[in-house]
């Protein structure tokens, strides 16, 4: 059984009286430990697909199964728990909580699930060490560079030991060298920790490190779906 099963998923958005289709019948299986890039032009449905896998959105038709569990049948609370335990997020804009230090940001998912403060701190320090930010534990986001903020974001995504990390355009706000480093770091963590990484990008230069590429066009998988 695949870790993530996407079955005939359609997603439509309502813009006023106009219905805009974002995904038009997507089928996709992703196994545990894969390093997958979802790519394609702007408006192809990359973000929508990642939002559905991340359980922060619901399909209009079809279903998404995470670890064999249908997200359509889950309550909002159950989905929150699933996200906290199983899914890590890396955002394009880093989305760190500005009033918290790097360490406190990484501790956040653990504290949400009730991990003791001491244990959460221990795990967060080790995660920040793994992304090369041991010297920046006490720094607030506004005192870190874009690349450093994204590293904190990756450490945070991995803090609760998730099965899958979803990164929507994680390098869009970074220069090309930093972007390459971030993808390299994600690749390295994927191999070391056997965590499934799914990220979206429209930058083809980053795809040479990727094992599997899923190309989306007009809300459909053009290739890489098998």
């Amino acid at each position: 059984m695949a870790l993530i099963e996407i079955k005939q998923v359609q997603k439509e958005y309502q813009l006023g009286e106009t219905t805009v289709p974002a995904l038009r019948g997507v089928d996709l299986d992703i196994d545990a430990g894969e390093f997958v890039a979802v790519w394609g032009p702007s408006g192809s449905g990359k973000t929508t697909l990642l939002n559905l896998i991340g359980t922060i959105d619901e399909p209009t038709e079809g279903d998404v199964l995470i670890g064999g569990k249908s997200i359509k049948k889950m309550s909002d609370d159950k989905r929150s728990e699933l996200r906290n335990h199983t899914i890590g997020f890396v955002f394009q804009g880093f989305n760190l909580v500005p009033v918290l230090s790097a360490l406190e940001n990484v501790m956040l998912p653990l504290q949400i699930n009730g991990t003791s403060s001491a244990k959460a701190k221990e795990i967060a320090i080790s995660r920040l060490e793994a992304v090369g930010l041991k010297a920046f534990l006490k720094h607030r986001p506004d005192k870190l560079s874009g690349g450093q903020q994204q590293r904190v974001s990756i450490a945070r995504a991995l803090a609760a030991n998730p099965a899958v990390v979803i990164a929507d355009e994680p390098t869009a706000n970074l220069d090309s060298e930093t972007a390459r480093n971030i993808i390299g770091l994600m690749h390295q963590l994927n191999e070391m920790e056997a965590v499934t990484f799914i990220f979206s990008t429209h930058d083809q230069r980053l795809l040479d490190q990727v094992k599997r590429m899923v190309r989306l066009e007009d809300g459909k998988i053009a290739n890489g779906g098998e």
């Binding site: 922060i56 909002d76 609370d77 955002f91 989305n95 909580v97």
Partner: protein, 412 residues
Amino acid sequence: MIKWIKIAFRNILKNKRRSFVTLLAIALGFAAVNLFRGYTHNTYNGLRNSAIRGHGLGHLAVYKNGWLEHGKTAPDKYMLTKKEIETIVSIVEAEKEVVLATPELHVTGLVTNGRVSTIFVAKGVIPKDEKAIKEGWVGTRPVTGAPLQDDKLYGVEMAEDLARHLDLKPKSEGVIMAATLDGQMNALNVEVAGTYNTGVRATNDKFIRMPFAYAQELYDTDKADRIVVLLDYWRNTVALRDRLQTKLAQAGLPVEIKTWRELAVFYKRVKGLFDMIFTFIFAIVLVIVVMSVINTMGMAVLERTREIGTLRALGLKKRGVSLLFALEGALLGFMGCAAGMVLNIIVWAIIRYISPTYTPPGNSAPVPLIVNLVPETMTLLMLFLVLLSLIAAILPARRAAKQNVVDSLGYV
């Protein structure tokens, strides 16, 4: 919980200017309510003491049934006889909370210096009992000359304006006239032992305090119209009234008992007025606090929409988001109250240092402006405002929690 308080606290500090304005509004409201409450607390205490001790109402007054309604038209019928006085005093003084029970006879008539006559209203009291009732209050309205004495029957204390109108000074003599209970005119020599200021213009040209026996002689009776009861503590008043009412009824005495609160008309009126003003100020403060917190938290929710989306994506449940913002509101309330407490103490200290005085309407002498610190009110108000701030924050907090995660993350 501590981590959420930490986040809430840091977010309050992050928006310094907005938080400052909200905290200032809460602090000023808190201080205003507490200062006014401190003023009324002191005023109520003063008026209560004034009624019980200054005006000599005591805590309780025992009357024969019907005296209050018909005593003026048929005084002889509704006065307490000598035997009844003795029985009541012995029953009342058997209670451990009772300091003393003393008979009084209030009389009216004319007082003259031989050339000029005017009306007077007098209270016939047993001097040593009156002194015990007045206690420290004697210093507030001191007597110029000599006070009433048990062994000097004809010496009276006269209100200053009355004495001035009659050109009477301590040790000077006049004549007092009144109708006896039988309707005969009676006149007695009187010596002004001392003069005093009643504190109220309306009574300062009419009042006289005289020995109980002298008042009885003026009315040619051995009766009293009331027995004034002094207790060890004013909060025992109602309980003791109920107990004595039962015991006196069991003894076959047809009496009714009034508390000082029922008899102190001025106290009731002032308290009614101040309570209304307090309610008005309190309502204004409530509105200010609620609107300030709702506005601040509404802005916070708007500004932190992406943060809310992020927290939800990390697995925080809807109620977790609500709790976060509700905590922030409560913390704002707490910090505002803490600042208000400091402000309150500073103003209280300044008032104590300056010791200002003012003359209330109808008073014949200035009174000091005193504001008490009332810890119970401070604590209760703080708890109330913190709770109110929390409730006020729930509205925007619920809105924050209900937001769609994807929309929140995409909010710019």
